[in-house]
Symmetry: C2
Subunit: 500 residues, 2 copies
C-alpha cells in the first residue's frame, strides 16, 4: 500500500513535468509555425527559461528520492506501475546527469540555431551556419560525455530518441540496408527507365492541393477537433496531448507529390499522437515509445499506403474532381509517378529506396562528429563525397547538401537513424497487418483506411510506453526488428515498377 | 556599488520571470486563437503549471530578500534603477500575498472558464456559465481579501490592472462621465436623426476587408516583421515582447465597421507594445504602464483617428479601390456612417458615446460582486435593468447581455473601468498631440499617420514603466486626468454630426 501511495505521489509530480513539457513543445511549435521574425531573440530566452524550470523540476532531490525508493520496491507494484516507475527513473536519471546551466544553454542554442540555420539555408551560406553548429556540437559532446558512462558517446544521444538503441545495434541494420540498397539503386539507374511523372507534376493550385490532402487525412481518421493542419517550411508533427496534435505541411504549386505525401506522412505521426491514451498523457507512461516507432507510423502511411497502387484506385477519381486535368490519368500512371526511384539531393523528397541512403550518410557523419572523428569544418566535403559514393550525385550548393535539414541546428544528434529504423518497422508492421486484416489491399482500394488505423491504434498507439520498441515489435510481428520485411517489400515493388 | 551589483542580480532574476511570463502569454494566446477544442483540458493544466512556477519564482525567499534590501537602499540608486526596484517590489509583494495553490487554481479556473463561456455564449445559456462564474468570483474574492489589507476589496483587484487606482479615484470620473453621457444619448435618441449607414453596411467580402485593414495598420506603422494579425471571436492584442506582438480581429461580411475599427483598435495596442524598449523588456521596467494607458492608445487610434473626418479624406479613395460599390460614397457620408450614435447591446460594437455607459454598467456590477453586495445568480437581471436604465434598451437574451464579454470568465475583475479611463486619457493625449503637432488633421488627411505614431512613441511608449499613469498624463498633457478633454471632444463631434 505504501508503494502505491508513493506511486500516486509520483504521478502527481510527473503531471506537472508533463504540463510544462507541453508548454515548451507549444512554444517550440509556435517558433517554427507562427512567430514573426522579430520574436526570435526573446523566444530563445523563453525556451531556455522553460528548459531550466523543467530541468529543475525533473532533478528535484525529493523526486529523485521518490523515484529511487519506488524503484527499489518495484517488485511490489503491479506491472503497469512498475513500468511507469522505470520510465520515470529513466527521465530523472537522464536529467540529473546534465547541469541546469547546460540544459538552459542547450535550449538557447537550439532556438538560436534554428534561426541561424533558416537564414543560412536560404542564402546557401554554410559559413554563416558553421559557428552555430560548432557551438552545438560542443554542447552535445558535453551532454554525451555526461551521459555515456563507459559506453560510446554517440550511444548516449541516440538513446534520447531511441531508448536502448546503440551503435552496436544500429550499425548492422543500417549496413544491411546499405548493402541491399546501393546495388538496387544502381540497377534502377542503369536500366534508365524514364517514368512519366506528368500525372503528378505540373500546375497544381495550392488551395486545391490543401483541400485534397485534407480529405485524405480525414479519411485516415485524423480527428479535426483534436488537430491543426498548418504550413511550415519544414513539415513536422507536434503532439501537445492526444487532444491537441499539430501537423504542418508545405505545398509546391509545380508538384503534387511533396505536399500530399508529406501531409500523409505527418498525419501518420498525428494518428499515433491522437491514438495515445488521454488518461495516461500526464503520467510517465504517456507518449510515444520511441522516434523509430513514431516514424514507422508516418512512413507506413506515406509509403506503404499512399504510394501503393490500391490507394490510387480509390483516390485518383477524387483527385480528378479537384484537378480535372487528370481526367486521362490512369491508376497505373499515377502510381508510377508516385514511385519514381532516382538519386536526388533532398532527403524529404527522396523515394523510399534512396531515402535510406540519405539517412546512412547523416548517421555516419553525426556519429563521427559526436565521437570526435570529424570536424565541423570538414562537414560539407564529407557530405558531398558521401552523396557521390552512396548515390552517385554531388550537390551543387550547400542548401541542397549539408544545409538542407533542420535537425543538427536544433541539436537533434542521434535522431536521423530512427528514420531508417522507422522504415524497417513500417514494413514489418505492414506485413503483420496484411496477415491479420483480411483483404487489406481491397479495403484500401475501396477507400477504407480506418480498418488499418484501428489496427495500428489497438496494437501500437493505445499502449503508450507500456512496452519497449523491441517488445512491441515482437508482440505485433512475432519477431525482432530486421531488414527482411523491408527487403521483401522493396524487391516486390521494384519488380512491379521496373522489372528488377 | 554593492547596491548596483545587487540591482544587476535583480535584473537577472527578473529576466527569468519575464521569460516565463512570455511563455504563459503565448500559451494563453494560442488557447484563444489556435488551439483545437480537444486541447482545452490539458491546456488548463499547462497554464496552471506555468502559473505555479511563476508564482514560485516571484515569491522565492531569496528574491523577496533581495528586493526588500534594495528597496531599503533605494535612495542610493539612480532614478531609473530606483523605479525598477519599486516595480519589482510591487510584483513580488502582490505575489507573496497569494498562496501558490490559489495561483494555480486561478489559472485553471481562467482557462476552463474561457471554454465554458465560449459554449455558454454560443448557446445563449447563462445557466451553463453560472457555476463557473460563481467559482471564479469566490476565487477573486479570496484574492481581494488577501490583497486589500485595510482597503476595499475591489481596490485590490483594480490595482492589478491600473496601479494606484481605487474606487475613490475612479468613482468620481465615471460618475461625471455618466452625468455627461446619459443626457447626450437621450438627446440623440430624441432627435431621431436617421443616419445613412449604407456606405459601410452591406456586402463586404471578408478577404477585401482583411486586405484593407492590413493597409491601414501598415500605414499606422505596425512593423509586420514584429507582428501577427490573426482572427479570433474576441479581438485582442498580446505583446510577448516588442519584437513579437499579436493582434486579432474579426470581420463581418455584412458590416465593414466592426472589422476595420477593431483592427485599428488592436493596432493601437500593438503600436504601444512595439514601441516599448526591447532593451528593458526583460527587466522590471519593461511593459505597459497600465491598462488604461494601453486602452488610451487603442481608443485614440480607433475613435479619434479612424472615426475622424480627416482620416476618411485619405482612406475613402483607397477603400473604393477594394470595394468599387463605394464609388458614389462621400467622405461626409462615410464619416457619418462610422459615427452612428445609437444605444445598442454589444459593447465592442458600441459608438464612442454610448460605449462608456456599457463600462459604467459593468463597473458597478463587478464592484458589487467582489464586495459581496451582489450575487452571481442576480447578474442577468441586474445587467438587463442596468441596460434599460442607462441606455433605454433591454437585451432579448443573455448572449447580447451578460454573456457577451470574455473578461469575467477569465477572471478579469477590475479591468473594465480601465476602458473608460482609457477613453478619457485618449481625448486628453490627443488634445496635447494636436497642440504640439502642427497641422495634425491635415497630416492625417494626407495619409500621414506616422507623425502621430512617432509622437506617441516618443512621449509615451518608449518610457516603458518609468512613469506612473498619473505622471505620464501630467508630463504629456500638463494636467491630471479629467473628463474635460473628452467632454470638449464629444460635444464638438456631436455638434458636427447631429447639431446637438
Amino acid at each position: 500500500m505504501a508503494a502505491m501511495s508513493d506511486y500516486a505521489d509520483l504521478e502527481l509530480r510527473f503531471a506537472e513535468i508533463r504540463d510544462l513539457s507541453a508548454a515548451s513543445s507549444l512554444v517550440g511549435w509556435d517558433q517554427e509555425v507562427m512567430m514573426p521574425p522579430g520574436g526570435a531573440d526573446n523566444r530563445a530566452h523563453t525556451l531556455a527559461a522553460l528548459a531550466g524550470v523543467l530541468h529543475e523540476r525533473t532533478t528535484q532531490r525529493s523526486l529523485v528520492g521518490l523515484v529511487e525508493s519506488l524503484h527499489k520496491r518495484r517488485a511490489r507494484l503491479p506491472r503497469v506501475q512498475r513500468r511507469s516507475v522505470e520510465l520515470a527513473r529513466r527521465t530523472v536519471l537522464k536529467a540529473t546527469r546534465i547541469p541546469a546551466e547546460l540544459a538552459r544553454e542547450l535550449a538557447l542554442a537550439e532556438s538560436r540555431g534554428l534561426e541561424t540555420w533558416r537564414v543560412a539555408r536560404q542564402k546557401k551560406d554554410w559559413k554563416r551556419f558553421e559557428p552555430a553548429l560548432q557551438h552545438m556540437v560542443e554542447l552535445k559532446r558535453r551532454v554525451a560525455k555526461l551521459g555515456a558512462g563507459k559506453g560510446r558517446l554517440y550511444d548516449a544521444l541516440l538513446d534520447d530518441y531511441e531508448p536502448g538503441a546503440t551503435i552496436a545495434s544500429v550499425d548492422p541494420l543500417l549496413e544491411e540496408l546499405r548493402a541491399l540498397t546501393v546495388p538496387l539503386v544502381r540497377a534502377v539507374v542503369k536500366r534508365g527507365a524514364k517514368v512519366d511523372t506528368s500525372p503528378l507534376v505540373g500546375d497544381f493550385d495550392v488551395a486545391g492541393q490543401r483541400e485534397f490532402s485534407r480529405q485524405v487525412v480525414a479519411a485516415m481518421g485524423i480527428d479535426a477537433a483534436r488537430a491543426r493542419l498548418d504550413l511550415s517550411t519544414h513539415p513536422f508533427c507536434s503532439g501537445l496531448s492526444p487532444g491537441d496534435v499539430r501537423m504542418t505541411s508545405r505545398f509546391d504549386p509545380r508538384d503534387l507529390r511533396g505536399g500530399l505525401f508529406g501531409a500523409v506522412h505527418e498525419a501518420g505521426h498525428g494518428l499515433y499522437e491522437q491514438g495515445l491514451s488521454p488518461q495516461r498523457a500526464r503520467t510517465p507512461l504517456g507518449g510515444a515509445i520511441s522516434m523509430a516507432i513514431h516514424e514507422s507510423q508516418s512512413r507506413l502511411w506515406e509509403n506503404l499506403v499512399a504510394r501503393s497502387r490500391p490507394f490510387w484506385v480509390y483516390w485518383l477519381p477524387r483527385l480528378r474532381k479537384t484537378f480535372p486535368r487528370l481526367r486521362r490519368a490512369t491508376v497505373d500512371g499515377v502510381w508510377r509517378a508516385a514511385n519514381v526511384v532516382r538519386p536526388s539531393f533532398i532527403r524529404v523528397e527522396a523515394d523510399e529506396l534512396t531515402y535510406n541512403l540519405h539517412i546512412i550518410l547523416r548517421y555516419g557523419i553525426e556519429r563521427d562528429l559526436v565521437e570526435g572523428r570529424l570536424q565541423v569544418s570538414e562537414l560539407p566535403e564529407r557530405w558531398n563525397d558521401g552523396m557521390a559514393e552512396l548515390l552517385g550525385i554531388r550537390p551543387r550548393h550547400d542548401a541542397e547538401g549539408v544545409l538542407q535539414d533542420i535537425h543538427w541546428a536544433m541539436g537533434l544528434f542521434g535522431y536521423f537513424p530512427t528514420y531508417s529504423l522507422g522504415n524497417l518497422y513500417a514494413a514489418q508492421f505492414m506485413e503483420a497487418a496484411r496477415a491479420q486484416i483480411r483483404g487489406l489491399d481491397a479495403r484500401i482500394a475501396r477507400g477504407d483506411l480506418l480498418t488499418l488505423r484501428t489496427w495500428l491504434a489497438r496494437n501500437i498507439h493505445r499502449h503508450d510506453q507500456l512496452w519497449t520498441a523491441e517488445q512491441i515489435c515482437r508482440r505485433v510481428t512475432g519477431a525482432p526488428l530486421s531488414t527482411e520485411a523491408f527487403a521483401r517489400y522493396i524487391h516486390a515493388k521494384l519488380a512491379a515498377l521496373y522489372g528488377i
